[in-house]
């Protein structure tokens, strides 16, 4: 069924997806809140930047990340001076890549959810003595719950299926950066269709179940803003 290498790849994939999702929610929530509330005239530039991974070929993103991670680059030197070693071909590098690549899938549903709240619930909470952080946590977040579920599932599922960025910056190091999607590619290259089937089927099943979960929980859900 699954070889030890496959299980290892699955474990890395799962870890990568969970960690990415967690970090994306932490980064994405304030960003989405700001995008939903800000009246800054250049806000659209940030929105375009966040949405960029939606249209950019993963290899392009991977290519630039690879350059940034290299010890010759400014970013690489800066990281090295902070004691952060070369990130290319490491799990941490992969994690950074995934976060950037899946950012719009988390930020956009959150932003849409926050925008649909309007200002009124927060104003009502303010007149009920709730401080800004208090009202964000006790009113905005619970009311935007469907948005959070969508964001988490999309972020998770999208990282699960990531291929191009991983290939560019992570390579194919078993036990370190070899994720399930790469393993499938390897199996197919080696004409080992049976192994490819098992892995591909499992990913298909997980992705489908996740989406079923979301749609069952929220029947009016739209994945991305229309």
């Amino acid at each position: 069924m699954f070889s030890e290498g496959d299980l290892q790849a699955l474990w890395i994939t799962l870890r990568l997806a969970l960690l990415s999702t967690l970090l994306l929610l932490i980064i994405g929530t304030p960003l989405a809140w700001w995008l939903a509330r800000s009246r800054w005239r250049w806000r659209f530039l940030c929105e375009a930047l966040v949405a960029l991974p939606l249209v950019l070929p993963p290899t392009v993103l991977g290519f630039y990340l690879l350059l940034a991670f290299s010890t010759d680059s400014g970013v690489g030197k800066l990281l090295a001076s902070m004691g952060i070693g070369p990130l290319a071909f490491t799990f941490t590098g992969l994690l950074i890549g995934s976060i950037i690549y899946s950012l719009p899938f988390v930020v956009q549903p959150l932003q849409a959810a926050f925008e649909s709240l309007g200002r009124r619930p927060m104003e009502a909470a303010a007149t009920l003595r709730a401080s800004p952080l208090d009202r964000f946590l006790t009113v905005a977040v619970p009311l935007a719950r469907p948005g959070f579920i969508t964001a988490a599932v999309l972020g998770f599922a999208h990282t699960l299926g990531e291929f191009g960025v991983v290939l560019m910056i992570g390579g194919n190091i078993p036990g370190e950066t070899r994720v399930a999607s790469i393993a499938i590619y390897d199996h197919v290259e080696a004409m080992d269709y049976a192994s490819a089937h098992w892995l591909a089927g499992l990913l298909l099943l997980i992705s489908f179940l996740l989406l079923v979960l979301v749609f069952a929980g929220n029947k009016r859900l739209r994945l991305l803003r229309s």
Binding site: E123, A124, A126, T127, R129, P132, P142
Partner: protein, 360 residues
């Protein structure tokens, strides 16, 4: 205690330029046509307009002045929004408790239980907010605002979204909560009937400016203001019930030296009541009619007669310390040769009530 405000500020496209003082007790109504800035003014008082420029003093406490802006969650106000804005992720009890949990124990002057009794919320406690009717939602919203034991209650047309029956249902609650908790209320409305039933003080607003601010009774009957000339113009008499006639089912009210008889027994002797008399229900006679079916015929002195509008004239009559408005034809004015200072008899055809035990 009083509330004084000076705002000279642009809120979006709207220029609010006001300078007024409201009494620190009773119900003060902000009245004006739509777009006159009533809601903006109320929001500025609550601190919801962060960009407003001006000064706001509540009693001895500055809520806003140049260099100081007390954020809304630090102002001891309760706010009832026009659309109730309940928290849909909480049930009714959760909504009521939201503010309650956020004030210090020693600040809790109004208990949740009392709020629940007063507004009849007991049966709703476990209900989801989206399962409530419009009137129920509004009662919950009022209860939620009261649960922070505010020192000032701000209400933005709380009855506007309700039909007449629901309004009649909620008005008595408003009167009783204001009496029970001695809570000053600032009440925004564009509904003349609501104002004349509730308000003690009136602030007239138009295009972001204050036209007049005074005792409600007084403003409603001032001939130089548009209020006295509205189709539904009326006069207010704050009276006390003095006697009931069980046989004829009548109740007698005294206001100053005048007595008024109203059908139905809506009050017991000693209870306060507000009598509302529509201008068009008041006719005038030079001598006291002896053979009329009208019960309320009161001696009065003509105070002023305003200019004619489409054959109609509004006459203001002094009855003790009160002013009664009468809408009659200009032909009648000529026939009776009415002029200021004349003694006449005002015949009041019908009186509406607004008081502690409801309306009649």
């Amino acid at each position: 205690m009083s509330i004084s405000a000076q705002f000279d500020t642009w809120l979006g496209e709207f220029h609010l330029e006001v300078d007024f003082t409201l009494p620190g007790s009773g119900i003060s109504a902000i009245y004006g046509p739509s777009g006159s800035g009533k809601t903006s003014l109320l929001r500025a008082i609550a601190g919801l307009e962060h960009h407003s420029q001006g000064q706001l003093v509540f009693g001895q406490e500055y809520w806003q002045k140049p260099g100081l802006f007390v954020p809304p969650h630090r102002r001891p106000v309760g706010y009832v929004f026009q659309e109730t804005s309940l928290f849909d992720h909480l049930d009714v009890q959760g909504n009521l408790e939201y503010g309650w949990h956020r004030i210090k124990q020693k600040q809790r002057r109004i208990s949740l239980q009392r709020i629940s009794e007063l507004l009849d919320l007991g049966a709703l406690a476990k209900r989801r907010t989206d399962m409530l009717s419009g009137g129920e939602r509004q009662r919950v919203a009022i209860g939620r605002a009261l649960a922070v034991s505010p020192q000032l209650l701000l209400m933005d047309e709380p009855l506007a979204s309700l039909d007449q029956r629901r309004r009649d249902e909620i008005l008595p609650y408003l009167l009783s909560l204001h009496r029970e908790f001695a809570l000053p209320i600032i009440y925004v409305s564009h509904d003349r009937t609501e104002i004349s039933r509730l308000a003690d003080h009136l602030l007239l607003l138009d295009a972001g400016r204050v036209i007049a601010s005074d005792n409600c009774q007084h403003l409603l009957t001032r001939l130089d203001l548009p209020l006295a000339h509205e189709e539904s113009a009326n006069s207010i008499f704050d009276a006390v019930a003095t006697a009931v006639d069980q046989h004829f089912q009548l109740c007698t009210y005294r206001c100053g030296n005048s007595e008024f008889i109203v059908p139905g027994i809506a009050h017991q002797p000693g209870e306060p009541a507000r009598l509302l008399i529509a201008s068009r229900d008041v006719s005038l006679a030079l001598s006291k009619p002896q053979d009329s079916s009208i019960l309320n015929i009161v001696p009065a002195v003509v105070e002023a007669i305003n200019a004619e509008q489409a054959g109609s004239v509004t006459v203001s009559l002094r009855i003790g310390d009160n002013i009664l408005l009468s809408r009659i034809t200009s032909k009648s004015v000529e026939q009776l040769a009415l002029r200021a200072g004349m003694s006449v008899f005002a015949q009041v055809k019908s009186i509406a009530l607004s008081g502690s035990t409801g309306t009649a």
